[in-house]
Protein backbone atom coordinates (compact mmCIF):
# COMPACT_ATOMS: atom_id res chain seq x y z
CA UNK A 1 0.00 0.00 0.00
CA UNK A 2 2.78 2.41 0.88
CA UNK A 3 4.53 1.51 -2.31
CA UNK A 4 1.36 2.21 -4.26
CA UNK A 5 0.91 5.61 -2.60
CA UNK A 6 4.52 6.45 -3.21
CA UNK A 7 4.15 5.70 -6.90
CA UNK A 8 0.83 7.52 -7.07
CA UNK A 9 2.12 10.71 -5.52
CA UNK A 10 5.34 10.88 -7.48
CA UNK A 11 3.28 10.04 -10.57
CA UNK A 12 1.07 13.04 -9.93
CA UNK A 13 4.16 15.21 -9.56
CA UNK A 14 5.67 13.95 -12.82
CA UNK A 15 2.28 14.22 -14.49
CA UNK A 16 1.87 17.86 -13.57
CA UNK A 17 5.23 18.57 -15.20
CA UNK A 18 4.13 16.68 -18.32
CA UNK A 19 0.96 18.74 -18.26
CA UNK A 20 2.96 21.96 -18.15
CA UNK A 21 5.03 20.91 -21.15
CA UNK A 22 1.94 19.71 -23.00
CA UNK A 23 0.26 23.05 -22.36
CA UNK A 24 2.77 24.67 -24.69
CA UNK A 25 2.05 22.09 -27.33
CA UNK A 26 -1.71 22.56 -27.02
CA UNK A 27 -1.36 26.33 -27.24
CA UNK A 28 0.46 26.15 -30.55
CA UNK A 29 -1.93 23.56 -31.92
CA UNK A 30 -4.95 25.55 -30.81
CA UNK A 31 -3.94 28.84 -32.34
CA UNK A 32 -2.14 27.65 -35.47
CA UNK A 33 -3.15 24.00 -36.04
CA UNK A 34 0.56 23.21 -36.14
CA UNK A 35 1.72 20.01 -34.49
CA UNK A 36 4.97 21.05 -32.89
CA UNK A 37 7.37 18.14 -33.05
CA UNK A 38 10.05 20.25 -31.39
CA UNK A 39 8.33 20.64 -28.02
CA UNK A 40 10.59 17.97 -26.47
CA UNK A 41 13.70 19.66 -27.85
CA UNK A 42 12.55 22.94 -26.32
CA UNK A 43 12.51 21.08 -22.98
CA UNK A 44 16.04 19.84 -23.67
CA UNK A 45 17.35 23.31 -24.53
CA UNK A 46 15.60 24.80 -21.50
CA UNK A 47 17.09 22.29 -19.09
CA UNK A 48 20.61 22.72 -20.47
CA UNK A 49 20.34 26.49 -20.53
CA UNK A 50 19.47 26.39 -16.84
CA UNK A 51 22.35 23.97 -16.30
CA UNK A 52 24.71 26.39 -18.04
CA UNK A 53 23.62 29.32 -15.91
CA UNK A 54 23.71 27.31 -12.68
CA UNK A 55 26.68 25.01 -12.96
CA UNK A 56 28.79 26.50 -15.70
CA UNK A 57 28.31 30.19 -14.87
CA UNK A 58 27.71 29.55 -11.19
CA UNK A 59 24.72 31.86 -10.89
CA UNK A 60 22.33 31.47 -7.96
CA UNK A 61 18.99 29.80 -8.81
CA UNK A 62 17.05 33.01 -8.14
CA UNK A 63 18.90 34.59 -11.05
CA UNK A 64 19.50 31.54 -13.23
CA UNK A 65 15.86 30.47 -13.45
CA UNK A 66 14.41 33.82 -14.58
CA UNK A 67 17.29 34.10 -17.07
CA UNK A 68 16.45 30.65 -18.42
CA UNK A 69 12.85 31.68 -18.95
CA UNK A 70 13.94 34.87 -20.70
CA UNK A 71 16.20 32.87 -23.03
CA UNK A 72 13.33 30.48 -23.74
CA UNK A 73 10.91 33.32 -24.53
CA UNK A 74 13.43 34.91 -26.87
CA UNK A 75 14.01 31.52 -28.51
CA UNK A 76 10.24 31.07 -28.93
CA UNK A 77 9.81 34.46 -30.57
CA UNK A 78 12.83 33.90 -32.78
CA UNK A 79 11.68 30.50 -33.97
CA UNK A 80 8.25 31.89 -34.80
CA UNK A 81 9.68 34.88 -36.63
CA UNK A 82 12.37 33.06 -38.62
CA UNK A 83 10.84 29.67 -39.31
CA UNK A 84 7.09 29.75 -38.87
CA UNK A 85 6.01 33.18 -40.06
CA UNK A 86 7.41 32.71 -43.55
CA UNK A 87 5.34 29.52 -43.69
CA UNK A 88 2.05 31.33 -42.98
CA UNK A 89 -0.55 30.13 -45.45
CA UNK A 90 1.52 27.14 -46.57
CA UNK A 91 0.00 23.64 -46.25
CA UNK A 92 -0.06 22.38 -42.67
CA UNK A 93 2.04 19.35 -43.56
CA UNK A 94 4.86 21.58 -44.80
CA UNK A 95 4.77 23.55 -41.58
CA UNK A 96 4.89 20.36 -39.54
CA UNK A 97 8.00 19.33 -41.46
CA UNK A 98 9.51 22.64 -40.43
CA UNK A 99 8.96 21.79 -36.77
CA UNK A 100 10.65 18.42 -37.36
CA UNK A 101 13.59 20.27 -38.85
CA UNK A 102 13.60 22.60 -35.89
CA UNK A 103 13.73 19.60 -33.53
CA UNK A 104 16.82 18.38 -35.36
CA UNK A 105 18.50 21.78 -35.22
CA UNK A 106 17.83 22.21 -31.51
CA UNK A 107 19.02 18.73 -30.66
CA UNK A 108 22.14 19.12 -32.78
CA UNK A 109 23.00 22.45 -31.20
CA UNK A 110 22.52 21.08 -27.70
CA UNK A 111 24.78 18.15 -28.49
CA UNK A 112 27.41 20.44 -29.96
CA UNK A 113 27.40 22.76 -26.99
CA UNK A 114 27.03 20.37 -24.08
CA UNK A 115 28.18 17.01 -25.39
CA UNK A 116 26.29 13.79 -24.82
CA UNK A 117 27.25 12.88 -21.30
CA UNK A 118 24.92 12.82 -18.32
CA UNK A 119 24.93 16.02 -16.34
CA UNK A 120 24.01 16.04 -12.69
CA UNK A 121 21.62 18.89 -12.19
CA UNK A 122 22.49 21.07 -9.20
CA UNK A 123 20.14 21.27 -6.23
CA UNK A 124 18.16 24.38 -6.90
CA UNK A 125 15.33 24.12 -4.45
CA UNK A 126 15.47 24.59 -0.68
CA UNK A 127 15.06 21.34 1.19
CA UNK A 128 11.44 20.47 1.64
CA UNK A 129 9.75 17.30 2.67
CA UNK A 130 6.25 16.24 3.31
CA UNK A 131 4.78 13.06 4.66
CA UNK A 132 1.43 12.21 3.17
CA UNK A 133 -0.53 9.15 4.40
CA UNK A 134 2.70 7.91 5.93
CA UNK A 135 4.59 8.27 2.67
CA UNK A 136 7.57 10.58 2.47
CA UNK A 137 7.67 12.62 -0.72
CA UNK A 138 11.10 13.78 -1.91
CA UNK A 139 11.64 17.54 -2.13
CA UNK A 140 12.22 17.85 -5.89
CA UNK A 141 8.91 16.08 -6.59
CA UNK A 142 7.11 18.40 -4.23
CA UNK A 143 8.64 21.47 -5.80
CA UNK A 144 7.94 20.18 -9.29
CA UNK A 145 4.32 19.51 -8.49
CA UNK A 146 3.91 22.82 -6.71
CA UNK A 147 5.50 24.99 -9.36
CA UNK A 148 3.87 23.18 -12.27
CA UNK A 149 0.52 23.38 -10.48
CA UNK A 150 0.80 27.10 -9.84
CA UNK A 151 1.79 27.73 -13.46
CA UNK A 152 -1.08 25.65 -14.78
CA UNK A 153 -3.59 27.54 -12.66
CA UNK A 154 -2.05 30.87 -13.62
CA UNK A 155 -2.18 30.07 -17.34
CA UNK A 156 -5.74 28.81 -17.08
CA UNK A 157 -6.79 32.08 -15.46
CA UNK A 158 -4.78 34.05 -18.01
CA UNK A 159 -6.56 32.40 -20.95
CA UNK A 160 -9.97 32.75 -19.36
CA UNK A 161 -9.86 36.30 -18.15
CA UNK A 162 -7.08 38.42 -19.61
CA UNK A 163 -7.43 40.45 -22.79
CA UNK A 164 -4.59 38.50 -24.40
CA UNK A 165 -6.24 35.27 -23.35
CA UNK A 166 -9.46 36.25 -25.10
CA UNK A 167 -7.49 37.25 -28.20
CA UNK A 168 -5.67 33.92 -28.24
CA UNK A 169 -8.88 31.94 -27.91
CA UNK A 170 -10.58 34.08 -30.55
CA UNK A 171 -7.72 33.67 -33.03
CA UNK A 172 -7.69 29.93 -32.39
CA UNK A 173 -11.45 29.68 -32.94
CA UNK A 174 -11.87 31.72 -36.14
CA UNK A 175 -8.87 33.36 -37.68
CA UNK A 176 -10.63 35.54 -40.25
CA UNK A 177 -13.12 36.81 -37.67
CA UNK A 178 -10.26 37.60 -35.30
CA UNK A 179 -8.56 39.61 -38.02
CA UNK A 180 -11.82 41.41 -38.72
CA UNK A 181 -12.02 42.80 -35.19
CA UNK A 182 -8.43 43.95 -35.35
CA UNK A 183 -6.62 41.15 -33.58
CA UNK A 184 -3.08 40.93 -34.89
CA UNK A 185 -3.02 37.16 -35.22
CA UNK A 186 0.68 37.08 -36.07
CA UNK A 187 1.41 38.50 -32.62
CA UNK A 188 -0.90 35.90 -31.11
CA UNK A 189 1.05 33.15 -32.88
CA UNK A 190 4.33 34.61 -31.71
CA UNK A 191 3.05 34.75 -28.16
CA UNK A 192 1.94 31.11 -28.37
CA UNK A 193 5.45 30.06 -29.36
CA UNK A 194 7.02 32.16 -26.64
CA UNK A 195 4.78 30.65 -23.98
CA UNK A 196 5.32 27.15 -25.37
CA UNK A 197 9.10 27.59 -25.15
CA UNK A 198 8.87 29.06 -21.66
CA UNK A 199 6.77 26.24 -20.20
CA UNK A 200 9.00 23.70 -21.93
CA UNK A 201 12.09 25.25 -20.35
CA UNK A 202 10.44 25.33 -16.96
CA UNK A 203 9.39 21.71 -17.38
CA UNK A 204 12.97 20.85 -18.29
CA UNK A 205 14.26 22.49 -15.14
CA UNK A 206 11.72 20.71 -12.94
CA UNK A 207 12.52 17.35 -14.53
CA UNK A 208 16.23 18.10 -14.17
CA UNK A 209 15.79 18.79 -10.48
CA UNK A 210 14.23 15.34 -10.11
CA UNK A 211 16.80 13.50 -12.20
CA UNK A 212 20.00 13.99 -14.14
CA UNK A 213 19.78 15.60 -17.55
CA UNK A 214 21.12 14.20 -20.78
CA UNK A 215 20.52 14.43 -24.51
CA UNK A 216 17.58 12.03 -24.26
CA UNK A 217 15.52 14.60 -22.44
CA UNK A 218 14.07 15.54 -25.81
CA UNK A 219 12.27 12.21 -25.86
CA UNK A 220 9.83 13.79 -23.45
CA UNK A 221 8.33 15.21 -26.64
CA UNK A 222 7.02 11.75 -27.46
CA UNK A 223 5.31 11.56 -24.10
CA UNK A 224 3.50 14.77 -24.90
CA UNK A 225 1.54 12.99 -27.61
CA UNK A 226 -0.35 10.54 -25.41
CA UNK A 227 -0.92 13.41 -22.99
CA UNK A 228 -2.46 15.79 -25.49
CA UNK A 229 -4.27 13.24 -27.57
CA UNK A 230 -5.76 11.82 -24.40
CA UNK A 231 -6.94 15.25 -23.31
CA UNK A 232 -8.02 16.37 -26.76
CA UNK A 233 -5.41 18.19 -28.81
CA UNK A 234 -6.95 21.60 -28.30
CA UNK A 235 -8.02 21.52 -24.68
CA UNK A 236 -6.01 23.01 -21.84
CA UNK A 237 -7.91 21.29 -19.02
CA UNK A 238 -7.54 18.15 -21.15
CA UNK A 239 -3.77 18.56 -21.23
CA UNK A 240 -3.71 18.90 -17.47
CA UNK A 241 -5.80 15.81 -16.84
CA UNK A 242 -3.98 13.92 -19.60
CA UNK A 243 -0.63 14.79 -18.03
CA UNK A 244 -1.71 13.56 -14.62
CA UNK A 245 -3.13 10.32 -16.01
CA UNK A 246 0.00 9.55 -18.01
CA UNK A 247 2.31 10.41 -15.12
CA UNK A 248 0.45 8.13 -12.74
CA UNK A 249 0.01 5.32 -15.27
CA UNK A 250 3.65 5.40 -16.13
CA UNK A 251 4.71 5.17 -12.52
CA UNK A 252 2.23 2.47 -11.54
CA UNK A 253 2.97 0.28 -14.52
CA UNK A 254 6.68 0.80 -13.93
CA UNK A 255 6.32 -0.20 -10.30
CA UNK A 256 3.83 -3.04 -10.49
CA UNK A 257 3.89 -4.60 -13.94
CA UNK A 258 7.46 -4.13 -15.00
CA UNK A 259 8.93 -6.44 -12.31
CA UNK A 260 6.76 -9.25 -13.73
CA UNK A 261 6.97 -8.86 -17.48
CA UNK A 262 10.23 -7.01 -17.83
CA UNK A 263 11.42 -3.67 -19.17
CA UNK A 264 9.67 -1.27 -21.43
CA UNK A 265 6.19 -1.53 -19.93
CA UNK A 266 6.57 1.86 -18.35
CA UNK A 267 7.12 3.43 -21.74
CA UNK A 268 4.37 1.51 -23.49
CA UNK A 269 1.60 1.78 -20.90
CA UNK A 270 0.66 5.38 -21.74
CA UNK A 271 0.16 4.45 -25.38
CA UNK A 272 -1.99 1.45 -24.48
CA UNK A 273 -4.16 3.71 -22.32
CA UNK A 274 -4.27 6.16 -25.17
CA UNK A 275 -5.58 3.57 -27.60
CA UNK A 276 -8.24 2.40 -25.18
CA UNK A 277 -9.50 5.90 -24.50
CA UNK A 278 -9.51 6.88 -28.15
CA UNK A 279 -11.66 3.84 -28.92
CA UNK A 280 -14.27 5.16 -26.53
CA UNK A 281 -13.82 8.90 -27.14
CA UNK A 282 -12.28 9.71 -30.53
CA UNK A 283 -12.00 13.42 -29.66
CA UNK A 284 -10.04 12.72 -26.50
CA UNK A 285 -11.42 13.41 -23.08
CA UNK A 286 -12.01 17.13 -23.67
CA UNK A 287 -11.40 17.80 -27.36
CA UNK A 288 -13.93 19.90 -29.21
CA UNK A 289 -16.31 18.36 -31.58
CA UNK A 290 -17.23 20.96 -34.18
CA UNK A 291 -20.41 22.69 -33.15
CA UNK A 292 -22.84 22.04 -35.92
CA UNK A 293 -25.88 24.14 -36.41
CA UNK A 294 -27.92 25.11 -39.42
Amino acid sequence: MRFFLQLLVTGVALGSIYALIALGFVLIYKSTRIINFAQGELVLIGAFTAFAFLSQAGLPPALALPLTIVVAVVLGFTVERLLLRPMLGEPVIAVIMVTLGLAGILKGSARAIWGSVNRPFPDIFPALSLTLFGVGIPGPFLWGCLIAGVCLVAFTLFFRFSGWGVMMRAAANHQAAALSVGIDVRRVFALSWAIAAAVAALGGVLLGAINVIDMNLGAIGLKVFPVVILGGLDSIPGAILGGLIIGVLENLSGGFIEPWVGGGVKAVAPFVALLLILLIRPYGLFGTREIERL
Binding site: A170, L179, G182
Partner: protein, 266 residues
Protein backbone atom coordinates in the same frame (compact mmCIF):
# COMPACT_ATOMS: atom_id res chain seq x y z
CA UNK B 1 -15.55 62.39 -47.55
CA UNK B 2 -14.90 59.83 -44.87
CA UNK B 3 -14.01 57.08 -47.34
CA UNK B 4 -13.12 57.42 -50.98
CA UNK B 5 -12.33 54.54 -53.29
CA UNK B 6 -10.81 55.51 -56.59
CA UNK B 7 -10.41 53.34 -59.65
CA UNK B 8 -9.70 50.25 -57.58
CA UNK B 9 -8.40 47.00 -59.03
CA UNK B 10 -8.22 43.81 -56.99
CA UNK B 11 -6.55 40.58 -57.96
CA UNK B 12 -7.00 37.19 -56.22
CA UNK B 13 -4.24 34.58 -56.28
CA UNK B 14 -2.30 36.87 -58.60
CA UNK B 15 -4.49 35.89 -61.54
CA UNK B 16 -8.19 36.54 -61.03
CA UNK B 17 -9.06 40.19 -61.63
CA UNK B 18 -12.25 40.84 -59.67
CA UNK B 19 -12.50 44.61 -59.23
CA UNK B 20 -11.87 46.49 -62.46
CA UNK B 21 -11.69 50.16 -61.66
CA UNK B 22 -14.28 50.61 -58.95
CA UNK B 23 -14.95 54.02 -57.44
CA UNK B 24 -17.29 54.98 -54.64
CA UNK B 25 -17.48 57.28 -51.66
CA UNK B 26 -18.98 57.26 -48.19
CA UNK B 27 -19.71 60.70 -46.71
CA UNK B 28 -19.34 61.21 -42.96
CA UNK B 29 -22.38 60.13 -40.97
CA UNK B 30 -24.25 58.55 -43.89
CA UNK B 31 -25.47 55.10 -44.81
CA UNK B 32 -24.38 54.04 -48.29
CA UNK B 33 -25.80 50.88 -49.88
CA UNK B 34 -23.75 48.76 -52.27
CA UNK B 35 -25.94 46.47 -54.37
CA UNK B 36 -25.20 43.94 -57.06
CA UNK B 37 -25.78 40.36 -58.09
CA UNK B 38 -23.83 37.34 -56.83
CA UNK B 39 -20.18 37.50 -57.71
CA UNK B 40 -20.26 41.18 -58.62
CA UNK B 41 -17.45 41.91 -56.19
CA UNK B 42 -19.26 43.49 -53.25
CA UNK B 43 -17.55 41.41 -50.58
CA UNK B 44 -14.23 41.93 -52.31
CA UNK B 45 -14.76 45.68 -52.14
CA UNK B 46 -15.33 45.54 -48.38
CA UNK B 47 -12.29 43.29 -47.91
CA UNK B 48 -10.12 45.73 -49.82
CA UNK B 49 -11.17 48.51 -47.44
CA UNK B 50 -10.85 46.46 -44.23
CA UNK B 51 -7.55 44.83 -45.10
CA UNK B 52 -9.00 41.31 -44.94
CA UNK B 53 -8.10 40.83 -48.60
CA UNK B 54 -4.64 39.59 -47.72
CA UNK B 55 -6.10 36.74 -45.70
CA UNK B 56 -7.93 35.62 -48.87
CA UNK B 57 -4.77 35.82 -50.92
CA UNK B 58 -6.01 38.93 -52.71
CA UNK B 59 -4.30 42.26 -53.31
CA UNK B 60 -5.03 45.78 -54.50
CA UNK B 61 -3.09 46.17 -57.73
CA UNK B 62 -4.25 49.64 -58.72
CA UNK B 63 -6.21 52.59 -57.48
CA UNK B 64 -6.51 54.16 -54.07
CA UNK B 65 -8.54 53.90 -50.89
CA UNK B 66 -8.51 57.08 -48.86
CA UNK B 67 -9.88 57.21 -45.34
CA UNK B 68 -9.92 60.45 -43.35
CA UNK B 69 -7.40 61.83 -45.79
CA UNK B 70 -4.91 58.95 -45.45
CA UNK B 71 -4.20 56.20 -47.96
CA UNK B 72 -5.02 52.83 -46.46
CA UNK B 73 -4.95 50.34 -49.33
CA UNK B 74 -2.78 47.34 -48.51
CA UNK B 75 -2.49 48.19 -44.83
CA UNK B 76 -2.85 45.26 -42.38
CA UNK B 77 -6.31 44.61 -40.96
CA UNK B 78 -5.43 45.33 -37.34
CA UNK B 79 -4.09 48.74 -38.26
CA UNK B 80 -7.25 49.57 -40.19
CA UNK B 81 -9.45 48.56 -37.27
CA UNK B 82 -7.41 50.82 -35.06
CA UNK B 83 -8.05 53.67 -37.49
CA UNK B 84 -11.79 53.16 -37.04
CA UNK B 85 -12.99 50.88 -39.84
CA UNK B 86 -14.49 47.51 -39.02
CA UNK B 87 -15.97 44.87 -41.31
CA UNK B 88 -18.79 42.57 -40.28
CA UNK B 89 -18.19 39.54 -42.45
CA UNK B 90 -20.76 37.78 -44.57
CA UNK B 91 -22.10 34.59 -42.98
CA UNK B 92 -21.74 35.93 -39.44
CA UNK B 93 -18.45 34.46 -38.25
CA UNK B 94 -19.03 34.39 -34.51
CA UNK B 95 -16.39 32.78 -32.34
CA UNK B 96 -18.62 29.76 -31.90
CA UNK B 97 -16.65 28.16 -29.05
CA UNK B 98 -16.55 31.36 -27.03
CA UNK B 99 -19.34 32.78 -24.88
CA UNK B 100 -21.30 35.81 -26.03
CA UNK B 101 -19.42 37.94 -23.55
CA UNK B 102 -16.01 36.70 -24.71
CA UNK B 103 -17.01 37.38 -28.32
CA UNK B 104 -17.66 40.97 -27.36
CA UNK B 105 -14.46 41.16 -25.34
CA UNK B 106 -12.53 39.97 -28.38
CA UNK B 107 -13.73 43.13 -30.09
CA UNK B 108 -12.42 45.15 -27.17
CA UNK B 109 -9.07 43.44 -27.04
CA UNK B 110 -7.46 45.64 -29.66
CA UNK B 111 -8.17 48.68 -27.57
CA UNK B 112 -6.07 47.11 -24.85
CA UNK B 113 -9.13 46.50 -22.75
CA UNK B 114 -10.01 43.65 -20.44
CA UNK B 115 -10.35 45.96 -17.52
CA UNK B 116 -12.87 48.47 -18.87
CA UNK B 117 -14.89 45.62 -20.32
CA UNK B 118 -18.01 45.83 -18.17
CA UNK B 119 -18.98 49.38 -19.16
CA UNK B 120 -18.12 48.85 -22.81
CA UNK B 121 -20.25 45.75 -23.16
CA UNK B 122 -23.28 47.84 -22.19
CA UNK B 123 -22.95 49.64 -25.54
CA UNK B 124 -23.65 46.38 -27.34
CA UNK B 125 -26.35 45.34 -24.87
CA UNK B 126 -28.03 48.71 -25.40
CA UNK B 127 -28.60 47.94 -29.07
CA UNK B 128 -29.10 44.21 -28.63
CA UNK B 129 -30.71 43.45 -25.26
CA UNK B 130 -31.08 39.78 -26.22
CA UNK B 131 -27.29 39.45 -26.02
CA UNK B 132 -27.32 40.50 -22.41
CA UNK B 133 -29.73 37.72 -21.51
CA UNK B 134 -27.46 35.24 -23.30
CA UNK B 135 -24.11 36.65 -22.26
CA UNK B 136 -22.80 33.45 -20.67
CA UNK B 137 -24.03 31.20 -23.46
CA UNK B 138 -21.68 29.68 -26.02
CA UNK B 139 -22.14 31.67 -29.23
CA UNK B 140 -22.32 28.62 -31.49
CA UNK B 141 -25.73 27.79 -30.07
CA UNK B 142 -27.35 31.18 -30.70
CA UNK B 143 -29.99 31.50 -33.39
CA UNK B 144 -28.99 32.96 -36.74
CA UNK B 145 -30.50 36.34 -35.92
CA UNK B 146 -28.80 36.44 -32.54
CA UNK B 147 -25.46 35.57 -34.13
CA UNK B 148 -25.87 38.42 -36.59
CA UNK B 149 -26.59 40.77 -33.70
CA UNK B 150 -23.56 39.44 -31.86
CA UNK B 151 -21.14 40.09 -34.71
CA UNK B 152 -22.47 43.61 -35.16
CA UNK B 153 -22.23 44.19 -31.42
CA UNK B 154 -18.71 42.78 -31.45
CA UNK B 155 -17.73 45.13 -34.26
CA UNK B 156 -19.10 48.09 -32.29
CA UNK B 157 -16.73 47.22 -29.45
CA UNK B 158 -13.86 48.48 -31.60
CA UNK B 159 -15.53 51.95 -31.57
CA UNK B 160 -15.68 52.28 -35.35
CA UNK B 161 -16.24 55.47 -37.30
CA UNK B 162 -17.09 53.39 -40.37
CA UNK B 163 -18.96 50.10 -40.25
CA UNK B 164 -18.80 47.76 -43.25
CA UNK B 165 -21.78 45.41 -43.21
CA UNK B 166 -21.84 42.41 -45.54
CA UNK B 167 -25.35 41.07 -46.12
CA UNK B 168 -26.62 41.29 -42.55
CA UNK B 169 -30.04 40.05 -43.65
CA UNK B 170 -28.71 36.79 -45.11
CA UNK B 171 -30.86 33.86 -44.06
CA UNK B 172 -32.96 35.78 -41.54
CA UNK B 173 -36.75 35.77 -41.26
CA UNK B 174 -38.41 38.96 -42.57
CA UNK B 175 -39.49 40.05 -39.11
CA UNK B 176 -35.94 39.77 -37.77
CA UNK B 177 -34.59 41.61 -40.82
CA UNK B 178 -36.92 44.51 -40.07
CA UNK B 179 -35.74 44.69 -36.48
CA UNK B 180 -32.10 44.43 -37.49
CA UNK B 181 -32.37 47.25 -40.01
CA UNK B 182 -34.01 49.52 -37.45
CA UNK B 183 -31.07 48.89 -35.13
CA UNK B 184 -28.57 49.54 -37.92
CA UNK B 185 -30.30 52.86 -38.51
CA UNK B 186 -30.08 53.64 -34.79
CA UNK B 187 -26.36 52.86 -34.74
CA UNK B 188 -25.94 55.34 -37.55
CA UNK B 189 -28.05 58.08 -35.96
CA UNK B 190 -27.24 57.70 -32.29
CA UNK B 191 -23.58 56.78 -32.39
CA UNK B 192 -22.85 58.71 -35.59
CA UNK B 193 -21.28 55.67 -37.21
CA UNK B 194 -21.07 55.87 -41.01
CA UNK B 195 -22.10 52.67 -42.74
CA UNK B 196 -21.27 50.97 -46.03
CA UNK B 197 -24.00 48.38 -46.41
CA UNK B 198 -23.77 45.47 -48.85
CA UNK B 199 -27.14 43.81 -49.39
CA UNK B 200 -29.08 41.43 -51.57
CA UNK B 201 -32.21 42.76 -49.97
CA UNK B 202 -32.10 45.95 -52.01
CA UNK B 203 -35.55 47.09 -50.93
CA UNK B 204 -34.56 47.11 -47.27
CA UNK B 205 -31.13 48.55 -47.90
CA UNK B 206 -32.43 51.46 -49.94
CA UNK B 207 -35.05 52.23 -47.30
CA UNK B 208 -32.42 53.08 -44.70
CA UNK B 209 -29.61 54.27 -47.01
CA UNK B 210 -28.93 57.83 -48.10
CA UNK B 211 -27.13 56.87 -51.27
CA UNK B 212 -26.84 53.70 -53.30
CA UNK B 213 -24.40 52.12 -55.74
CA UNK B 214 -25.13 49.22 -58.05
CA UNK B 215 -22.16 47.17 -59.17
CA UNK B 216 -21.72 44.55 -61.82
CA UNK B 217 -18.64 42.65 -62.93
CA UNK B 218 -16.29 44.56 -60.68
CA UNK B 219 -17.43 48.08 -61.58
CA UNK B 220 -20.07 50.56 -60.48
CA UNK B 221 -22.81 50.62 -63.09
CA UNK B 222 -25.14 53.09 -61.53
CA UNK B 223 -25.41 55.25 -58.49
CA UNK B 224 -27.66 57.87 -57.01
CA UNK B 225 -29.67 58.96 -53.98
CA UNK B 226 -31.42 55.95 -52.46
CA UNK B 227 -34.85 57.43 -53.13
CA UNK B 228 -34.09 57.74 -56.84
CA UNK B 229 -32.70 54.24 -57.10
CA UNK B 230 -35.85 52.88 -55.55
CA UNK B 231 -37.77 54.50 -58.37
CA UNK B 232 -35.37 53.41 -61.09
CA UNK B 233 -37.04 50.95 -63.42
CA UNK B 234 -34.04 48.66 -63.79
CA UNK B 235 -33.32 48.50 -60.10
CA UNK B 236 -36.97 47.79 -59.41
CA UNK B 237 -37.09 45.07 -61.96
CA UNK B 238 -33.92 43.24 -61.02
CA UNK B 239 -33.54 43.83 -57.34
CA UNK B 240 -36.76 44.84 -55.69
CA UNK B 241 -39.13 41.97 -55.16
CA UNK B 242 -37.02 39.50 -57.04
CA UNK B 243 -34.33 38.99 -54.45
CA UNK B 244 -36.45 37.71 -51.62
CA UNK B 245 -36.27 34.07 -52.62
CA UNK B 246 -33.31 31.86 -53.33
CA UNK B 247 -35.03 30.23 -56.26
CA UNK B 248 -35.31 33.51 -58.06
CA UNK B 249 -31.64 34.25 -57.53
CA UNK B 250 -30.62 31.54 -59.93
CA UNK B 251 -33.18 32.82 -62.37
CA UNK B 252 -31.41 36.15 -62.13
CA UNK B 253 -28.14 34.53 -62.98
CA UNK B 254 -29.60 33.03 -66.12
CA UNK B 255 -30.76 36.49 -67.10
CA UNK B 256 -27.29 37.87 -66.57
CA UNK B 257 -26.68 38.83 -70.17
CA UNK B 258 -29.95 40.69 -70.63
CA UNK B 259 -29.43 42.49 -67.37
CA UNK B 260 -25.97 43.64 -68.33
CA UNK B 261 -27.28 45.23 -71.47
CA UNK B 262 -29.96 47.06 -69.63
CA UNK B 263 -27.55 48.46 -67.08
CA UNK B 264 -25.59 50.04 -69.83
CA UNK B 265 -28.66 51.64 -71.32
CA UNK B 266 -30.02 52.97 -68.05
Amino acid sequence: MLLEINNLEVLYNEVVLVLKGLSLAVPEGRIVALLGSNGAGKTTTLRAVSGLLKHENGAVTQGTITYQGARIEGRPAHEIVRRGIVQVMEGRGVFDELTVEDNLRAGLAVRGGGRRAAGELETAFGYFPVLKARRRQVAGYLSGGEQQMLVIGRALMTRPALLLLDEPSLGLAPLVVGELFRIIQRINREAGVSILLVEQNAQMALTIADHGYVMEGGRIMLDGPARELQDNRNVREFYLGLTEQGALKSYRDVKHYVRRKRWFSS
